[in-house]
Structure formats: C-alpha cells, structure tokens
Symmetry: C2
Subunit: 146 residues, 2 copies
DNA sequence: AGAGTAAATGCAACTGGTTGCAAGTAGGCG
DNA sequence: CGCCTACTTGCAACCAGTTGCATTTACTCT
C-alpha cells in the first residue's frame, strides 16, 4: 500500500471510485512541492499513461476540491493552480506587481469568519483565500518613483 | 451632458478615451440595479449598436475594473458578473447551497487588512470580495436532515 | 480647423475549461 | 467468482474569455 490509503478510503466513503487515472493525479499533487496547473498535472500523468484526457484531470480535481483535499487558487495571471492541502489551512498574499506569493496564517481570517458567523449567521468557507495587493517591496518602489 | 461626466474625466485623466461603445457599456452598468454578466452587457449594447464585438466589452470592463469603477465577481456558477461600485465598498456572502447573495459591510475586512499591513507589510486590495459558505437557512436544513 | 499619435475597435484565431454522451470499469453483493 | 449498477472515462463539441493585428478614431498640440 502507498501513502494514500486514507485518501482512497475517503473517496470510497463518499461514493467515489479509485481509478488508476485518479491515483496518478493524486500522487502528482501530493508529491509536488507547491502549486501545479492543470496542464502540469496533465503532462505528468500523460507521461505514465498517454491516453488520459484533460477533462478527466479537471473532473478529478473537481471531486478532490469538493472533498477539501486540494485547493484551487486563481493566481490572477493565466491558469488556475491546485495544491494539496494537509491539515493546516493557509492563505496566499499575491503581489499584483511582482507576482510574489507569501503565505498568510489562517488565524487572520478565522477571526473575521467567527465575527461573520456571529453577526450574520453565515458560515463562511475560509479554507483557502487568494488575497491580491502590493508587497512591501513594490510599495516602496512606487512611492519612491513618485 | 449626461450623468457620467466625472467618469469621463477620470478616463481621460488616466490616458484613456471615451468612445461611443464605452459610453454604452458604462450606462448599461450604471443603470443596472445589480450584477450583470458580460453577455448581458453585450446584448444591451448590441441592441443600440449592432457592430460591437464582445472583445470590446471585455476590454472596456478591464479598464473600468483597473480604475476601480466597477467590480468583477465570480459568483461560482458560470459566468463572471460585473457591477458598478459607487463610493461605498461592500462584499458578498454567497451561499453555496441556495446561491443566495447577501452584502457584507466593508468594516469586517478593513480590520484584517489593517492587521495584515501591520504584520506583513502587505497592502491588500480588499475592495470587493466574494465569500462562499452556508447561509443561516441552509445550515439549519442540513443539521435537521442529519 | 488640421495633422499627428496613442489608444480603441472589430475580426479571427486561439486558450483554458466544461459538458453530453456512448463505452468501459470499479467495487458491492450474492 | 461473476453479475450488476453507478461512477468514470475518452472523445468531441462547445463556451467564456483573451490575444494579435490591421484599421479606425478620439484627443492633443499647433
């Protein structure tokens, strides 16, 4: 057995099936260091099994996302990216000038989430947020050139 | 002169031009009550001037968005929507079950934004956020059916 | 008013992603 | 083990949105 047994169980418990294609997509994502685009995943899987279709990749990413095993992030420029989410939730601060990405601890958003729940009765999904803005370096650059 | 004179000035000051197409797109958005999809705007403009191209609509929406005159929101299901933003900033709470949309006051996010700026030196763009989750009604429904 | 220029338009081709459908397959159950 | 059915796959057609390019047009400067 590989290191994915709990993932397989979770899939089956929720009425899904484990197929070779899914297995390959899964391991691609788990063993990747950070974000991957759908095309990157597609290429990796195709290297092992050339008959996969891109729609299979997207559909699998969809079910993994529904199960909160992965997170989709729109980095703003071009393709969406996907990443494996372990137990710790985190968020991304994306600089709209230099495209640099830093992580943001979940606590920052957990607090707002709690407040929204209290005031509005709305339970917000705050698993994974992409927050755009200007990083410290690019702020300095802009004010300097003024 | 219509009621858009300050918008026209803002466009010109930022090196853009006011064209009839832009004018029509602009008034469509300003006079709409809420969110509009690009296709809806396209149809409205085409009724008046049948030669517009959809790419013109998207490009105009792009510059208006850059100038923070409108906000683009991905409602999650299907097409992106656009809306005119006046002076007050607001956010949306979107129920992932019943798709109901409620507004969220800017204060909730302004606070996190300030904290992120202080701790991380990152100036977040928090103009307009779409927050998914479960509304009060759908939460009750789900727990009741368990 | 008229010339010059940067920006905008319309078109067509393209990209990322989605969907409907017929055929195939995982996995439960006897 | 082998049947059965719901889920999944690959394919092709499709959809929203983007891009490159030649032509046109709004605005500036004189």
């Amino acid at each position: 057995m590989g290191c994915e047994s709990e993932t397989i169980d979770l899939l089956r418990e929720t009425g899904h099936k484990m197929t070779p294609q899914r297995m390959m997509i899964l391991t691609s994502l788990r063993h990747a260091k950070g974000h991957m685009t759908a095309a990157e995943i597609f290429d990796r899987v195709k290297a092992e099994y050339p008959y996969v279709d891109i729609s299979t990749v997207y559909r699998t990413l969809g079910v993994l996302k529904d199960l909160h095993l992965i997170a989709e992030t729109d980095m703003g420029l071009g393709d969406a990216t996907f990443e494996w989410v372990g137990n710790e939730r985190h968020h991304h601060l994306i600089c709209r000038k230099c495209n640099h990405v830093t992580q943001l601890d979940h606590d920052y958003l957990a607090e707002v989430g709690a407040k929204i729940a209290k005031d509005m009765g709305f339970r917000a999904d705050l698993d994974h947020f992409a927050i755009f803005g200007l990083c410290a370096g690019c702020q300095k650059e802009l004010t300097a050139s003024k």
